[in-house]
């Protein structure tokens, strides 16, 4: 295996949600530009962090990659195949190799199924096991995520948030995927439990050679877990580079503001920290600003930012940024 084998290649991904009006005859009156031309690669075995504030399109990107939302345009190449062009049975077969862990461990498990059924259902669907072998698989997977294998016949409500998230991880692992899209897997959990789940994800990556797309809004956690980080704002990626480069030499003014807004748990440091406080709120994705999308809140915006959309370019090797002022 080549060291830099690209597992997933996303090219100019666009997802617009139509806004319909009318009672009997529905007419499209606009669109929510949730994702508006996003491109990136994920190399085998790495963790790519995708950060941004709520509504910036990071979850939609994750779902569009797995074809849970069919993209409006663009391509998603996974192991050489363009998922956007696949349909039905072939799509389902290819998708087996990519799984998702959801944010809310309370809503993502069916309350009427036992843990064993939840974990092994995907295996039965994909003919990876037979009904009589499911018990063994369920026990093996529970053990893998650090739960007691005797829990297979229990129901989700008997577990705490952190334990449920482990069940969600076990379900994702059941199909032996290469890529796991983690959509804010820890933001619903308490601090002391977050660390347990993050450690588990790291252990599993080392053990099974998994590749993660880690979607989160917590920049400290993203720094901890990612190899490279992409920063999203209003449907586009504004900066993409390696973790250490991003946290030491952020170039885009949005990234800089975002980093300066994250509190550091140390009063001695906090007392002397200078913050870049952004004014206002994120504009509506129904009607995004012309030119650069960040210009309405940008402290260094100029005339050109209004007229021309900044190109997403490689400024130094491996450091991509979309800003006229860099």
């Amino acid at each position: 295996m080549a060291a830099n084998e690209v597992l997933l290649n996303v090219v100019d991904l666009v997802k617009h949600f139509p806004i319909m009006k009318g009672v009997l005859i529905q007419k499209q009156v606009g669109a929510v530009h949730a994702v508006d031309g996003v491109s990136f690669d994920i190399v085998k075995g790495e963790t790519l962090g995708l950060v941004g504030e709520s509504g910036c399109g990071k979850s939609t990107t994750g779902r569009a990659i797995l074809q849970l939302h069919r993209p409006t345009s663009g391509s998603v190449f996974y192991e050489g195949k363009d998922l956007v062009k696949l349909k039905g049975e072939t799509l389902r077969k290819t998708r087996r190799r990519m799984q998702m862990i959801f944010q809310d461990p309370y809503a993502s498990l069916n309350p009427r199924m036992t843990v064993g059924q939840i974990i092994t259902e995907p295996m039965l669907i994909h003919d990876m096991t037979t009904q009589k072998d499911t018990q063994g698989h369920a026990e093996r997977l529970l053990k893998l995520v650090g739960l007691n294998p005797a829990y297979t016949s229990r129901y989700p409500h008997e577990f705490s948030g952190g334990q449920r998230q482990r069940i969600g991880i076990a379900r994702a692992l059941a199909l032996e995927p290469a890529l796991i899209v983690c959509d804010e897997p820890i933001s619903a959990l308490d601090v002391s439990i977050q660390a347990q789940v993050v450690n588990l994800l790291e252990d599993l990556q080392a053990k099974l050679g998994l590749t993660y797309l880690f979607i989160a809004h917590d920049l400290s956690m993203v720094r901890h877990i990612s190899d490279r980080v992409a920063v999203m704002y209003l449907g586009i990626i504004v900066e993409l580079t390696t973790r250490d480069e991003l946290y030491s030499h952020a170039l885009h003014p949005y990234t800089q503001a975002l980093l300066s807004a994250v509190p550091i748990p140390d009063p001695a440091i906090e007392a002397n920290r200078k913050r870049i406080i952004l004014t206002g709120d994120v504009p509506s994705p129904v009607n995004p600003p012309s030119g650069c999308r960040f210009r309405t809140r940008c402290p260094i915006a100029a005339e050109i930012c209004k007229q021309k959309k900044p190109e997403f370019r490689e400024v130094t090797p491996g450091h991509w940024v979309a800003c006229h002022m860099v």
């Binding site: 439990i193 906090e270 709120d281």
Partner: protein, 328 residues
Amino acid sequence: MSELLSVQGLETQFRTREGIVHAVNGVSFGLKEGETLGIVGESGCGKSVTVMSMLRLIPSPPGKVSAGKALFQGKDLLKMSDDEIRHIRGSQISMVFQDPMTSFNPVLTIGRQVSEPLEVHMGMNRKQADDRVVEMLTKVGIPNPRDRLNDYPHQFSGGMRQRVMIAMALVCTPQVLIADEPTTALDVTIQAQIVELAKRIRDDLGMAIIWITHDLGVIAGLADRLAVMYGGYIIETAPIRDVYAHPSHPYTLGLLGSLPRMDESGQRRLVSIDGLPPVLLEKPNFCPFAPRCKYVVERCWKENPPLMQISPDHTAACWVNPETGRER
């Protein structure tokens, strides 16, 4: 600085189908004039119930404040008549809630809701109240406040709604502002705006703040003192810098270790706290943190440690000194 608010031995229980939940088990703390106290803990540790009990906002039944005192300027809030406490809530002590989406009445205008405390407590008429509301909305950074008086809550974004909520809490210039996870529902850039706002207003108006949070990052730049809660007990209190520099309870130590830090480049493995937070169905006669504690000794299972003085201004409820690993 004199003591403005003093809570002593507060206990609150809830009657549920599973049994009695001991949510707060003898909590004591003081708040001086102009001081900012942070109360930190995970969900279910009793931090919100503590302040709600103090202000008599616990629905009863099923809840019951069974013991303790909450002295505000020398008078016990828990013994006051309903009229007296109503007079204090919203005028001398006011509260900002976590969720700016659900804490407003959706069918009343913002102007109407923010001016309500002024009409109730200060007896102002519509016109005077409106002027004061415009002044407050300007202070919290709402653009064109006069035009927005007739807007409804849904016409504001989350961050703006939280600003309006703060304005509402401040219209009567309270002496104590209680903020219950005011930034938890907000994005980081908006959170930074709200924290800056709170600091500026505190310095302008000189009020005392109780800031409840689960985020040891946010509170680091804001509070003067910190109280850490676990299982319905305060388990450590100290000036803010001491808590971070010399955490003296294994739980505080664990919380700090489980936080990834933005200013840290190495791939340090996070120190997680094993196990789960306690179910508060019975009041334990041992240390509530003992089942998850790395430093546990025999004594922890026999006696629940009280808050002990470990340096002049620093107390912790632990039999063991986690810095040395030996019993105190």
